[in-house]
């Protein structure tokens, strides 16, 4: 073995250590139920929705969905998109009206959610937005996500904080839920109009959010995909160790 080979090896290892900072993220199971399109106007459905609403939602939103002072907002004009979003992501119902709504397992069955959504839709408001992630462009989606979403949700959608609230990770969100959140602006999130984010851009956003579930991680390890601090630590510990190896290799110790 000549001297050059192991030296080159050490340098390559060092380079790898610095470069190799991404990988296979834990594949998040997409568990949220897909919500069907906006056409749910069967009378029986609305009736059962109303009954369920009065049993489970009216303590905050009022018996007629007009809201109650200091407890819950009026749902007049909220529309099917808000009902479907909050129910299918398990954000509603809340245990306490002052809690921040966070994603949990949906507390209603698909059929119940469809009924409640059909009822809330009769109070007026926008339908469930249509979105076709496959028709979107992933590059445009990333550009748009970086501009509009990444400030809070982090560029790979791993979530983050905004003062007074938490921006959730998006790996569990379905395309429809992404579109709904963009249009509603749930909890502390701002909403985005069609003038700001058109249909193609919305499709692209949904496609990009889908992509973040298993990003390419070209470097190898994902390190959680949560940004420079853990990546920097790995870089420092592996990179610094490699530099020490190089220092040992090129140096010689005086023997006494």
């Amino acid at each position: 073995m000549t001297r050059a080979v192991p030296l080159a090896l050490a340098i390559v290892c060092g380079a790898l250590a610095i470069w190799d900072l991404a990988g296979k993220p834990p594949s998040a199971p997409a568990q949220a139920p897909p919500s069907a399109g906006g056409r749910v106007a069967v009378n029986g459905l609305v009736d059962s929705g109303r009954t369920l609403f009065q049993q489970t939602c009216s303590s905050c939103h009022g018996l007629d969905g007009r809201g109650r002072q200091g407890r819950g907002p009026s749902l007049i004009g909220a529309g099917a998109q808000a009902a479907d979003f909050y129910l299918s992501t398990g954000r509603m119902p809340l245990a306490d009206p002052s809690d921040a709504p966070v994603r949990t397992k949906p507390q209603f069955t698909h059929a119940q959610i469809r009924a409640l959504t059909a009822y809330v839709a009769t109070l007026g408001g926008p339908p469930i937005p249509r979105v076709d992630a496959a028709a979107g462009s992933i590059a445009l989606g990333q550009e748009s996500f970086a501009e509009h979403c990444a400030g809070c949700h982090q560029i790979l959608g791993r979530g983050g904080i905004v003062v007074g609230g938490i921006a959730p990770p998006l790996q569990q969100a379905t395309s429809t839920q992404v579109a709904e959140a963009v249009r509603i602006g749930p909890y502390l999130m701002p909403r985005f109009t069609r003038a700001q984010i058109g249909q193609h851009e919305l499709n692209s956003l949904a496609r990009y959010v889908g992509f973040t579930k298993s990003p390419d991680d070209l470097g190898g390890w994902s390190i959680g995909n949560i940004g420079p601090i853990p990546e920097g630590m790995v870089g420092w510990f592996l990179g610094l160790a490699s530099l020490l190896v190089v220092a040992v290799l090129i140096g010689e110790r005086v023997r006494r």
């Binding site: 192991p6 290892c13 007074g164 602006g185 909890y187 109009t193 023997r255």
Partner: protein, 341 residues
Amino acid sequence: MRSLGRMLGFVLAAILGWRRSAQRHAEELEGIPPGGRDVDPRRRHVPADPRAELLVALLLLLTGACGVAVVVLLIVEVANGTQWLGLAFGLGFGALAAALIVAGKRVVPQELAVEERPKFTDPEAVNETVEMVREGGEGISRRGLLAGAAGVAAVGIGGALIAPAASLGPNVANRIDDTPWRRGTRVVDARGRAILAADVVQGTFVTGYAEGASVRDVGSPIVLVRLDPSVLRLPAGRPLAEWAPQGLLAYSKICTHAACAISLYRYPSFRATQPRPALVCPCHYSTFDPARGAKVIFGPAGRSLPQLPLAIDAATGELRANGGFSGSIGPAWLDVDRGGQ
């Protein structure tokens, strides 16, 4: 993690194996029997090696060239400039390190440097010492070449180190107070299309620019939000009709703490149980209350975001500036105008 462990193990094995073989190799070269007696590097004889000297000179010239490249890249804007800068810096320092390694191992004579000098008054001893010092460098045959190359490297790296200092004290001239906004300047989006008052609905957050200004001008970007006029409590001297028509508000997008872009907007869907609307800077979470003249309500920023008075064009519905900012834009610095607090 398993691949990491395997890699580390591999590296360790490689080092151990190589050190042993390298040592044997050195001992064979010097005619020392295996397990040899003396490998003190100071005693090793390194004869003048023109090839090594040439290599060192080339590496030093490469260092200098990389340093010059850094300076050029700092001055000239090119695509992917940051990556090229990093490459030039990395290559430059790598070449310098390689030059030093080769010079240390193959060029500079190694000798034991213990000298006994009882007294220097003896002219013969002085001559001897001078001679000895002179001979010290005799192992190097092309001193001029190496010195020249080292000079090039020093100039290049020195230039590369000094050039970024220009970024520390930019001549901001009057850009902080003399922004592109004038009474009547149209508010446009990043693509230059006019922003209409109707585009900014409650709960949305729109970034606007001064028409005709470069998007890189820090005085240009603003954030536009709309709040219910009944909740607005702007500082005295900012009548709603001139500063917030229909509840539309415009603030500089440049954070007054460290000049990051204000790109977070917190807007509650139900006011009774949720935090109030706020503009938030993603860098250090400085939080500003748009209803109260972007007063700081959290975080390190020291003063409010400067507000831009707005007017709505009656004919077209387009947004226009109704004057200049209420204060100096950008981060705090000595003697900053603290007006608009």
